[in-house]
C-alpha cells in the first residue's frame, strides 16, 4: 500500500471506522510495526482530546450504582481451557490481539487443512468479514489463487514471496481480483498471516477513493 493510503487506513482504524476484522489487522500491525504504532497513538491522542472536549450527556441517576453492581457480579473471564490443539505453543507467541482471537476460535473449531504445509483457522470475528489465521510451513506454498474481493494479509511471523514481492513481519499485502499469486513461505521459520476480507463496499468507499486521489 502507498504511504498515504496506509495512513488513511490507520486513521480509519484509530477513529473506529473500520469493521472488526480490519480493526484486528491494524491493531496487530501497530504492535509489530513502530511507525504504524506511532501514528495510531497520535490519532488516538487527538481523539482522546476531542473526548475531553465532548459535551457531557447526563447518565441515568442510578448509572453509577448499576455499573458498580455489574462490577460486583462479574467474574473474570476464563483465559484458556478447551480442547488441546496443534501449534498451541506457536499461537501463544503471536501478538496478543491475534492470540486472543485464535484461542477463542480454537475452543470452537480446529485448524482446517489447506494443502501440504498449509493450515487455516477461521476467526469468527464479524459476519461481514472473513478473517483467517493462515499457517504456512517453511518452504511450502499456498495453491495458486485469486480473490473474490479485496483481501488484506498481515505477516505475523516469518516471510513469504508471492512471485511479485517479498512480505516480512509487519507488512500488509493487498490483493484483489486482478492478482493471481502463489505465496511461498521462506525457509527457516513458520509463516503466520492474518488475512481479512471485508465487504466490497467498504473498500471502494475507503481504499478505492484514497488510492485514486493520493496516487496521482
Amino acid at each position: 500500500m502507498s504511504g498515504a493510503a496506509r495512513d488513511h487506513f490507520i486513521d480509519a482504524y484509530a477513529s473506529g471506522a473500520l469493521g472488526a476484522g480490519l480493526s484486528l489487522l491494524v491493531e496487530t500491525q501497530a504492535l509489530i510495526a513502530p511507525d504504524v504504532g506511532a501514528r495510531v497513538r497520535a490519532a488516538e491522542t487527538v481523539a482522546g482530546v476531542f473526548l475531553e472536549l465532548e459535551t457531557p450527556a447526563a447518565l441515568h441517576e442510578e448509572a453509577l450504582a448499576h455499573v458498580l453492581a455489574r462490577i460486583e457480579a462479574s467474574a473474570p473471564a476464563p483465559e484458556s481451557g478447551g480442547p488441546a490443539r496443534a501449534f498451541m505453543a506457536e499461537v501463544t507467541r503471536l501478538p496478543a490481539p491475534v492470540r486472543a482471537a485464535a484461542f477463542e476460535a480454537l475452543r470452537a473449531r480446529d485448524w482446517a487443512f489447506g494443502g501440504p504445509g498449509l493450515r487455516i483457522l477461521e476467526l469468527k470475528l464479524a459476519d461481514e468479514a472473513r478473517v483467517e489465521l493462515i499457517r504456512i510451513e517453511p518452504g511450502f506454498a499456498a495453491p495458486r489463487h485469486t480473490h473474490a474481493g479485496e483481501e488484506y494479509t498481515l505477516v505475523l511471523t516469518g516471510a513469504y514471496h508471492d512471485g511479485i514481492a517479498r512480505y516480512g513481519v509487519g507488512d500488509i499485502a493487498r490483493a484483489g481480483p486482478d492478482i493471481v499469486h502463489r505465496p511461498r513461505a521462506e525457509e527457516g521459520e513458520v509463516c503466520y498471516n492474518l488475512a481479512v476480507s471485508e465487504g466490497p463496499l467498504l473498500f471502494t468507499g475507503l481504499m478505492g477513493v484514497a488510492q485514486k486521489l493520493w496516487l496521482t
Binding site: A43, A47, L51, P56, V67, I71, W214
Partner: protein, 208 residues
C-alpha cells in the same frame, strides 16, 4: 508512584483555555492518571466514582454524537465504564492519557457493538477487543504532555480545521462523508486534513 487520597470534590489546578473553545477547562490529567492507579491497585471505588462522574457523560455524549439513541448510548456508556474498571490494571500512565485510553475502550466497544448488531445477538458480558498496548514511546514527552500539546495546538487552528479533525479522527467519518457535510470538495477535505494532522503531529513529537 503517588498515592492519591481521594477528597470529595477535590479538583486541582483547573485552568481555562484562553480562547476558541469557550469556557472549557483544561483537565488535570495527572490527577486522572492517579485515580486510574488507585482503581487498579486498591479497587478504589471513590476514585472510580470520580472518573465516572467526569468521563461517563462524555462517553455518552460521544456515542450520541455517533447517532445512537438515548437508551443505547446509556447502555454503552455504562458498559465502557465497566470495562474501565476491569481493565484498569492495564492502564499505564506513561503510555496514554486517561482520555486517550477511555476513548480506545469506547471506540472498541463501538466496533464490537456494530459486530453484535450484525450477528443479531446481545451478550452484555462479551468483552471487547482489549485496548491496544504499545511499546514505550521513544519521545521524552509523557502521554499527558502529548495530550496537552494536542489540545493547545487545536486552540491555534482555525475552527473549520478543528471541525474536520473532529469528524475524521473522533467521529470516524469517511472523507466523502466529511466533504458532503462541510460542503467542500473532496480534494480540499483531504489536503486540509493532511495538513492539520501533520501540524498536530509536529507539535506532538517533532515528526511529520
Amino acid at each position: 508512584m503517588v498515592a492519591c487520597a481521594i477528597v470529595e470534590g477535590a479538583v486541582r489546578q483547573m485552568r481555562p483555555i484562553a480562547r476558541g473553545m469557550g469556557a472549557e477547562m483544561e483537565p488535570d490529567r495527572a490527577h486522572f492518571a492517579d485515580l486510574m492507579e488507585s482503581v487498579a491497585q486498591r479497587q478504589d471505588r471513590a476514585a472510580f466514582a470520580e472518573l465516572f462522574a467526569h468521563f461517563a457523560p462524555r462517553v455518552k455524549g460521544y456515542i450520541l454524537r455517533l447517532g445512537a439513541g438515548e437508551a443505547l448510548a446509556e447502555e454503552l456508556a455504562q458498559e465502557v465504564m465497566v470495562t474501565v474498571w476491569r481493565k484498569a490494571g492495564l492502564y499505564e500512565r506513561t503510555q496514554a492519557a486517561v482520555s486517550t485510553w477511555i476513548f480506545r475502550i469506547a471506540r472498541n466497544r463501538r466496533i464490537d457493538a456494530a459486530r453484535r448488531e450484525a450477528a443479531h445477538r446481545l451478550d452484555p458480558d462479551d468483552a471487547p477487543l482489549p485496548p491496544t498496548e504499545f511499546e514505550a514511546p521513544d519521545e521524552a514527552a509523557s502521554a499527558n504532555e502529548r495530550a496537552a500539546r494536542v489540545r493547545a495546538a487545536l486552540e491555534h487552528l482555525p475552527g473549520e480545521q478543528v471541525s474536520l479533525l473532529r469528524a475524521a479522527y473522533y467521529e470516524g467519518l469517511s472523507h466523502s462523508e466529511i466533504a458532503a457535510r462541510a460542503k467542500l470538495p473532496l480534494g480540499t477535505v483531504k489536503s486540509r486534513l493532511r495538513l492539520a494532522f501533520a501540524r498536530l503531529r509536529a507539535d506532538l513529537d517533532g515528526e511529520v
